[in-house]
Symmetry: D2
Subunit: 293 residues, 4 copies
């Protein structure tokens, strides 16, 4: 396939590489050009604008936030003007439901295909092509691009024909992770105040009821208070919680645990933790219990 | 071993039966005698008081709450007066840390052994001898009674020599389950308001990041809104949250997600749901989002 | 003075009338023209655009929300292009701190004066010229327009030279009112469950520690469950809470009571209460306690 | 009247003195005897037990918490055994609704009169005989002891014949004060982060909508961050919030703002603030916003 790829961050770079490895023609664009050079050596074509990346069958965006996607799609030399009728934009970033709804609308008006296909997994899973892809949009289109999803992920879940639903699921998944971090943080603080080793508690939990990878990963980070380097920055965690709360507000759904998490993210940032891994939410619980960290 | 067993509820009855099956001599006591009769036919001896159940090597209590344990241990014809020096009381109920500390103290004064060994698992796991046992107390004593733990559970975690720590771990585990229920409930309400099937969302979550049995069990109950019959009653869930918040308060640890859950349990009960399964916490999120249930 | 007035809603109409009565020349603009007609009979000039309202010494905006102010100021035939150098825009609506910062900037660039002067008080206070005005902006300019503030209010508080601070104070004041409503609602529910008349409780409070007009006003509405007609609509209350939480988030300040209130506003709206007075926040507390309302 | 008075703390001592000044015969008891000596010089009789203080027409208890009242009433040489049939126990302390219900019951069984008459006001108001008394119990009895209430307070509110309701009202009033402190603290932190002087904000609020003494008093303490000496200790504030939450739980009433306050009290205590004035709740908001204090 003739694929454009925009956004070569911690997640985007390994994803683009895996698509290239799978044998597709790849045009890549990144605002900071130097990030793209390794891929050039591996066979990708570097282009100078989102528009130039959008002249093939499909263009994938994997960017940091709504604003970056908006500039890339709606800006001069953006995706929207360059994409051919019938060609597709696959948005794989974690963006808001509201922006996804807007993309759905404008691409439809332009006779283009829009697929929302956000992914679950941290950078190591991206490198290993072990991401989970949640895809929504016209079913035939999703099937047509299955080879691309197979190139980056271990499994694809087709959700529905309504693209923004994939963003709702992605944000809700991130909410569940953040909530798990918050709750592990609250119990870890409690254990410490009782002189019980939080490692032991988490070990028991993850070998019994909560034998899920995500509990093991975050449980260990919290028990060891190892918040650097950040696999996923706390300030990005706040962005995602803000996005899910906005999606919930749009339908008048209160999410009180979401509100607690949002407040703790703000506290963590106010105390200087924006750059830490989002598991550092647990620091707030520790400090609120009077523990030094 | 010569074992006494007090408390033949949904959990206690299958546990006692499994101990009997494992070949131990069993004396059973239950306030409502008829509950004990099936065990008599299987070879157990029915006795008329906690004291009579406490004349052997060890007596196990598996009761509904602190008050029942207090009456059983401290009452006339209670465990405390009857238990021989060197014999053991194994408390397997979910009781407060404060009561466990008191039991530790009084048994020590009386020259008796006290082991705290609460279990994780619902009645079906109890029947299948698949419980997880978290044991704390004098290590040698815990080892000595390992055959009893093996009779009821699939695995025993020895925690520490300080018995009440096992209660802290048990209550914290229940807090994590309640928090998971609350968060699944919040996302399920959100999905419904967006006309996304919560089943599909939960399916994706439990086949990817949250591939833990407890997510599958409760995810299904919530997605299907199947809150009866209760595996674990909502009012007992409130009791456990109250207990963990009390343990946290004793060490000045705020647990804001715990507070949210407590408030939602109260709401669920105020609206007539005390007898439902504690997964009905999700009803509160649904109703707060204006959904009919 | 030669005054333009834009926005003749429940608050704007009586304010404009009081300015007219005080002897100023008044040009009025309202999107729905019929709202302006009574003022025409009383001597005001009706104009056809925000621009036409902005040709004098000063133009006042008193609009429903940020969007209305943005359209009025930045739109074609908007305030910004029409206002003369040295002339002033006085924004009296409850808008966000972020929009106020933007207005400060664009008016400064255009050589125009910008004053932020939001008001406290409900429609009856506006009619009686008994509003409280909180003004911020260049001090000399505020002094120059004091006659206008005197025409609508009983007292003006000059805050600082930094106009957006007045919006911060206004939104924080509304937060305190909403929090008071929430807390009175929680206690009223409690009283009802104990068969104590909430009126009696509120009477005692407002004749002793809380002898403030705002407690009396809202206390009576809540005790009588009289949520219609709305003096200030619940959906506008949510808008203000959202604005204060956004201002707080911009500086990484958690406001957990603000979060509770936001969640309850959402619940009230989800259950069909958007059009009620914002004191209907108390209905959520009542329903969460299982009370019929 | 022949009056016994038990409990000569910061509140009890000036109250007892005012009763003495009003011309009543006074028998006083305090666990720490030296506290009672000044009153002896002013004409009171010192006695050696609660029982000896309870031989007249009426005995008043004004003690720190439930436990002190329980020991005083139910202990050996306690009030209960000594009080004559027809004589009265007036409980003026801030105790739980549950204990008040128990006192109501036991005094009725003993043929004694029980009046619950907690007070609002800090020690300076007690000294100036300016307390507010909220009285509940048999109406004739309350009328009979009106001279005592007049001796200590500026006004008495008769609530109902059901004594524990006065405790519910007292605790709810303290909840409203704590909530006000919390909200003023949240806004003060916000103001500081925007470089707005919280004093100015609070000045505007208390001269307009919130012109109540309690807002002025606590607003000033918070704006000045003056948390010592304590007029009412933070750890006592936690006790009262715990009591109101317990009363609410007994009737299945969630009070989410109460939960937020409870968690913040715990945080304040965890960080070493138990001895500060309860207005130091605002320190938690400041620290959670990253402000040094």
């Amino acid at each position: 396939m003739d694929v454009g790829f925009i956004g070569l961050g911690n997640m985007g770079l390994p994803m683009a590489r895996n698509i290239l490895k799978a044998g597709h023609r790849l045009r890549v664009y990144n605002r900071t050009k130097s990030r793209a050079e390794p891929l050039q050596q591996e066979g990708a074509t570097l282009v100078n604008s989102p528009a130039e990346a959008s002249t093939g069958d499909v263009v994938i965006t994997m960017l940091a936030n709504d604003q970056a996607v908006e500039e890339t799609v709606f800006g001069d030399e953006g995706v929207l003007t360059a994409l051919k009728k019938g060609a597709a934009h696959i948005s794989m970033s974690t963006i808001t439901v509201a922006l996804s709804e807007r993309l759905k609308e404008v691409h439809a008006e332009a006779g283009q295909t829009y697929i929302s296909a956000p992914v679950f997994g941290r950078p190591d899973a991206a490198a290993a092509a072990k991401l989970f892809v949640v895809a929504a949009g016209e079913k035939k289109a999703v099937e047509r691009f299955q080879p691309l999803f197979d190139a980056v992920g271990q499994r694809t879940f087709f959700l529905s024909e309504n693209a923004p639903e994939a963003n709702l699921v992605k944000l809700s998944g991130n909410f569940l992770i953040a909530a798990m971090i918050e709750c592990l943080g609250e119990t870890a603080a409690l254990m410490r105040k009782y002189d019980v080793d939080p490692r032991r508690f988490l070990e028991i939990m993850t070998e019994t009821l909560f034998a899920a990878p995500v509990y093991r990963t975050y449980g260990a980070l919290i028990a060891d208070e190892k918040y650097e380097p950040a696999g996923f920055k706390l300030e990005l965690g706040l962005k995602d919680i803000r996005s899910i709360l906005a999606a919930a507000e749009a339908k008048s759904v209160p999410m009180p645990v979401g509100s607690v998490i949002r407040d703790h993210f703000l506290s963590a940032i106010a105390r200087g933790g924006a750059h830490l891994d989002w598991s550092a939410l647990a620091k707030v619980s520790a400090e609120d219990a009077g523990l030094k960290s």
